[in-house]
Subunit: 355 residues, 2 copies
């Protein structure tokens, strides 16, 4: 893959301005200090309620330092990163002028970071929206479209509080499509959390996250949004959750429920094939299924950095197993170097216009 | 596939004795009569609460008549069926002697049907357990093991009420393994139901069912049951829900949570590769992923009959689209006729000893 660019489309940051907010809060999401003066991140729903996780996970400057991000990129041979705020974004903030201005400031921060001389043109970003207010989000989309290194918005699944199939969001989706921006759809709350038994948060992350993406996209499809806005461009985290695997079952269940099917111009799989998928899936079985359903040219490499750091060794100098698993998965896709180069970066350059 | 047997391992029946129970009940699960004297099935959790589904779905004798089952098999070229009671089995019945005797009677009914001259040796069965009572279930397993055409038990995910990773179930799993029987693990309750929005039950079936299987099997794995009972043989409905697709993510999340990982001898995928999967998935993308992860020789064709009948035409003489989609999926698996023949029936003959 030597002559071709490697691009990471799924790589997060808690900007310093956002860290300040997390440090100031008394409720989840928040950052607390442990006895050793180490920052600990507590962000997942209910994480503070469980004894094993209530003190969160230790985090360091890899969560907010752009120097660390660039080191991480160098260490893993990543040429370009499309950074995004990590969950839960602004989904927990009230619809106030202060929140709207905070979103604007964060997007300006992203722009400043990406266009800085330190970044050397290697950073692009997905912006953030005050999603609970669709009208303020529309205004923010117009601002984001003017920022030279921003290529879209990262979005969770709650929308304005009632899910992404809420008719109130249609003007927002239209504005995003009209601006030529991409939505990076990412889970946070998890689906099925009450069923995961006593295994810490491992199953919330392993299963609840991909379930959440699967549900949100299925509801978007059934709402008819893609018939209404065919050029709405969405990149799905974690290779679409479980959608490539469940596509056939989704089509079949919808076909056997005429009241649902007759509202759509096509079976669900038709729309799934028009979406984009990252390659954050850690195994070639799932990635090959995604390629099989939607084609390799709609799939883009990602790392989920700075989450899933190395279990042993110094995280700033040791290669991350979580990254290597995703690279191995890409190399496990049948095809020629052209296919791998596409997934590893060239698709992102083309689709997100990272010139 | 002409010279090789076609076997349907996922095909349900509500035995007349069970229909009598459903007809006698005032709560879900139940069968009600509509104004035209047509039986209507209301079985899914909350189905009676929603206006579009509270009157259930119309059902006919394809749900209880073995004559109809054999007609369905002839129509679709199925040589052998391994029938099982449809959900929710006995999971809603109290742990009383009456329930235990009901289970025994149903299993005797299955045996009588399968060994009848009408069946001509073409029917085998998975029996049913009074699962809420593990000790009564163990006793029933011993009885089932003596019935000539029974090859295992169908089981939901609630166990004795606390999920399948409940330590109280270990003697039951040990008894099933010792008897050389197979568990056919099947969803009923759905996971994520509260997130599916206003699309009737289409998403409960399309997503909630496979999520439920995924969660139950993940919890079984993390409980260490397969380290304790390596020869526990489980056949997963709907190609394992979503597990082949999520295997890499599950491995990665467990590896990054040492408190969970250190209780297991192997990564989760190791255990996933030792399970069996049906091919009820309606699309070759998902089926190929299952083959990729576990190998084609652990996968067995199924139809989910009598659910998902034809939308148009007379259901007793029209080929079922739901069946044809699953046959197409098998034919979409790369390989030779030997691979297809294996999935279509020879694997089931070998694994379930259908001689």
């Amino acid at each position: 893959m030597s002559n071709s660019k490697v691009v990471d489309v799924h790589t997060h940051v808690y900007l310093p301005r956002y860290m300040d907010l997390l440090r100031s809060r008394a409720e989840v999401p928040r950052v607390i200090l442990d006895d050793l003066g180490q920052d600990r991140l507590v962000i997942l729903p209910g994480e503070d309620k469980e004894s094993s996780t209530k003190r969160g996970r230790p985090i360091g400057d890899e969560y907010w330092s752009m120097k660390r991000k660039l080191e991480f990129m160098d260490l893993h041979g990543i040429d370009v990163s499309v950074i995004s705020l990590a969950n839960p974004w602004l989904d927990f903030l009230p619809t106030t002028q202060e929140t709207f201005e905070f979103a604007t400031a964060l997007n300006q921060d992203l722009s400043t970071v990406c266009t800085s001389s330190d970044a050397g043109g290697r950073l692009f970003a997905f912006g953030v929206l005050p999603t609970l207010s669709p009208s303020a989000s529309v205004a923010e989309v117009h601002r984001i479209a003017q920022l030279p290194h921003l290529r879209g918005v990262i979005m969770g699944t709650i929308g304005a509080g009632r899910g992404l199939d809420d008719p109130e969001l249609i003007p927002l989706f239209q504005a995003i499509a009209d601006a030529g921006l991409t939505i990076f759809l990412h889970p946070h709350h998890g689906v099925g959390n009450e069923h995961f038994g006593g295994y810490g948060h491992s199953l919330s992350l392993a299963l609840g996250f991909p379930f959440e993406t699967t549900v949100a996209v299925s509801r978007l499809i059934l709402s008819g949004i893609f018939d209404r806005i065919p050029n709405l461009r969405i990149l799905l985290a974690h290779s679409g959750g479980t959608l490539p695997f469940l596509a056939g079952r989704l089509d079949s269940c919808v076909a056997h429920d005429p009241a649902v099917a007759e509202k759509l111009q096509h079976p669900p799989t038709y729309y799934l094939k028009r979406l984009y998928y990252d390659a954050v899936i850690y195994h070639d079985t799932g990635l090959k299924a995604t390629v099989d359903l939607v084609g390799a040219d709609r799939i883009m490499f990602g790392t989920d950095n700075p989450f899933f750091p190395p279990l042993k060794g110094e995280k700033h100098v040791t290669r991350w197993m979580s990254v290597d698993k995703n690279i191995e998965a890409v190399k496990g896709v049948p095809g020629e170097e052209k296919v791998w180069n596409g997934i590893m970066g060239e698709n992102a350059v083309r689709i997100l216009n990272l010139k």
